[in-house]
Symmetry: C2
Subunit: 437 residues, 2 copies
């Protein structure tokens, strides 16, 4: 395996021709694209931060998941830490400009060292940005401050939170801003309701209210508008999808709906493949409509894959993170990943990170034991994170369209399209909330 630099992924894309077409178009239209994004942010402010999982099929580059409570900050290129600091300063400025003290509220899984490394990096970014930052915990069983040393050499400290009237505090720390890094898969905790301190991202951004189908409905609209702007077939950046409302994998309730939709979606993809001359077998991904972390995700190339699930597989599908039983599902067009790493041609999936409306970096999930049509973000899946070598914001028209700065720019464009969708999704959730109030 030729590896010019230990931190730099060396990627080869089998079907590079058509993707170069996409990258060329983005380069040619860069000013229109950036102007369009600026207009979007003026009308709908970006979430505080986000990460977007992309899949790069060569002929198609599309987001498959948008996380509004990103982890994995430790996987970013340390060279771009200043970019994160600058963008986070801007994000806090837009959310709550008078902030001095930030309380970071993480996920509960305190035994996941990867997550804790990410949390420590996020805290470091906040501190270097000039905010006094401490980490609270929503765990009931945390009654004393808890500290642990991390493999990277840092120490992390979690402290119990307490409520004083309308304020959330630590024993000796009264924060101005609550920064959520917990996706609320287990629901909105009562202790966070009706606080006078601002919470960013807002509680509505949690999985107790978000639905992937809603996100991808917004995304499809964003992709249509964007594609019209630069004269592109929107399918090349947009995964088809369908939703099913009432599925119980254990009791097989609602299975007909699932089978019917899988069949429909596979046939739609087949049709697109025919139109674009793509000689590949269509597949779909079935995911919990509310949830994350790659739990309860399966791929299917035919309705038989769904009908023939065994009990173990059904149990796996029936529960997602936080123990919620899956009832609503997203059936999403499977997008092949044809970016590979090294001689073993391990599939690589780019993940793009954003703070405010700025793309601050990203990394590849590389998995040596998976194929190009499998989910690369699954439990127990020890992917190799490979930080992006360059930033996503330095397109260069003097270089080839698939030179790395231009490929990274393309990731950043599609990542931001998903961010626009998320911004609209949050605005709609906020409007619903205001209407209810």
């Amino acid at each position: 395996m030729s590896e010019p630099h230990p931190h730099v992924p060396h990627l080869t894309t089998a079907l590079s021709g058509p993707l170069q077409a996409l990258e060329s178009l983005f380069l040619d239209q860069q000013t229109s694209i950036e102007t369009w994004f600026r207009q979007q942010w003026l009308s709908t402010p970006a979430p505080l931060y986000a990460s977007v999982d992309l899949r790069n099929a060569g002929f198609k580059l599309a987001p498959v998941d948008t996380n509004l409570f990103p982890a994995g900050f430790n996987n970013l290129n340390p060279a771009f830490l200043p970019l994160c600091i600058q963008a986070l300063q801007s994000a806090v400025e837009h959310n709550c400009p008078t902030t001095v003290r930030v309380l970071l509220l993480p996920e509960d899984h305190t035994r996941n060292l990867y997550y804790l490394e990410s949390l420590a990096t996020l805290q470091e970014i906040l501190i270097k940005s000039g905010f006094e930052t401490r980490i609270g915990s929503l765990r009931d069983d945390l009654i004393e401050p808890w500290e642990t040393d991390l493999p990277g050499g840092r120490t992390i400290r979690l402290e119990p939170v307490r409520r004083h009237g309308k304020r959330l505090m630590l024993a000796d720390f009264d924060p101005c801003l609550i920064l959520l890094n917990n996706d609320l898969s287990a629901g909105r905790p009562g202790i966070l309701e009706d606080l006078e301190q601002p919470i960013a991202p807002p509680l509505e951004a949690g999985w107790s209210q978000r639905r992937k189908t809603t996100h991808f409905m917004h995304y499809a609209q964003v992709a249509r508008e964007f594609a019209e702007l630069i004269d592109l077939d929107p399918w090349l950046i947009d995964p088809l999808f369908r939703g099913c409302g009432k599925i119980n994998f254990k009791t097989r309730e609602g299975e007909e709906c699932l089978i019917e939709n899988v069949e429909q979606l596979l046939s739609e993809i087949r049709e697109r493949y025919r139109t674009h001359g793509i000689d590949r077998e269509p597949f779909v991904m079935i995911k919990a409509d509310a949830g994350t972390y790659g739990m309860a995700v399966m791929s299917a190339r035919s309705v038989d894959d769904v009908a023939q699930l065994n009990r173990k597989q059904r149990n796996k599908m029936a529960a997602s993170k936080g123990g919620q039983s899956v009832s609503e599902v997203l059936i999403q067009e499977g997008v092949y990943t044809f970016e590979t790493w090294g001689d073993s041609a391990a599939p690589a999936e780019p993940v793009v990170y954003m703070m405010d409306h700025y793309v601050v970096g990203g990394f590849y999930r590389v998995h040596t034991e998976r194929g190009p049509n499998e989910n690369l973000n699954a439990p127990g899946m020890h992917f190799q994170p490979l930080a992006f070598e360059e930033s996503c914001i330095t397109p260069d028209r003097h270089l080839e369209p698939d030179a790395s700065p231009n490929r990274f720019y393309a990731y950043g464009v599609v990542g931001r399209l998903a961010l626009v969708a998320a911004a609209r999704e949050l605005a709609a959730l906020r409007a619903d909330k205001d209407k209810a109030a």
Copy 2:
């Protein structure tokens, strides 16, 4: 000369003790400092961009010149180009968020290849930021587009500007925003008056209206407020100064005023040196109060240095850039530079660059033929630019106070103090203009 990396200055500071004290204080007080800066930007927005020349005497770190139309972008570390792009996007967002096309208006000296390289870098930053960017010229003798190849391999193109009613245009280009990179030493050009397009920085920021004495009056106030915040003697970050209103170097008119003020200032510096136990000879710098580019700058260790100027020296002092005859002068405390480069101990002077209110990088001016008490920005002075190795925004409390990220952070803090002063200075000029209208 040991040189671990061609782009990385290896600096030694003779009097590192006291400066470490300053750096330690900045590190300890980082949250208060950043909170204070955020408040400043909320009440007085930062200029679009600026560079600040600092002098680092070990016991004292102070700005000596604040340039609101910076050149030298080509001297910045290419690794921090993304930081410039992100900050410039933010700057344009704050100045004119609907901008699509930018017209860059440079200085007239088209034979200065260093300046043209800087201009090409600035254009590159604007293009990568997503703005269609072309370069106009205010030169009367430019009637056709003019192109030249630069030593770095790029090509630069300047085009004649024309006025259509209230708009400034190129033959086939109607810009949304005029970005000035001309310091207007020769006065405000009529063609730029009463345009309907926004001009940033505003015309008031040019040397036809700015005065260094006014800037340093604002700076002294900023330094006092900041010093009170972190409990510091403001002199440690503030150069003393005096102004003289009517000097004609050729006719020796007003010489008594100059001599009296030089004497006064030297004695004030001597007093401070005594208080702080500094065993050095005081000196002052005499500069045109309106002007830049290190022309018409001299240093004096005694009144004799001023009284004994010969005719050649007088002629040199009598004219600054653009041919303006010097009448008002700034007499500024000379700040030793005790940062040195290499075995030859060549003095190095840091220059900090900012866009919007973000510090985007900097470089050292290193001059092998100058002493620590001389001006390092003089005509014909072929300094060696050495890009800052690291960003100025990643302070690290786990490292020594004088570790490079922390020294760079200190530069960024003092650079931003000068930026706050410039912001207040521009706000006052704007208020004067509004009053006059």
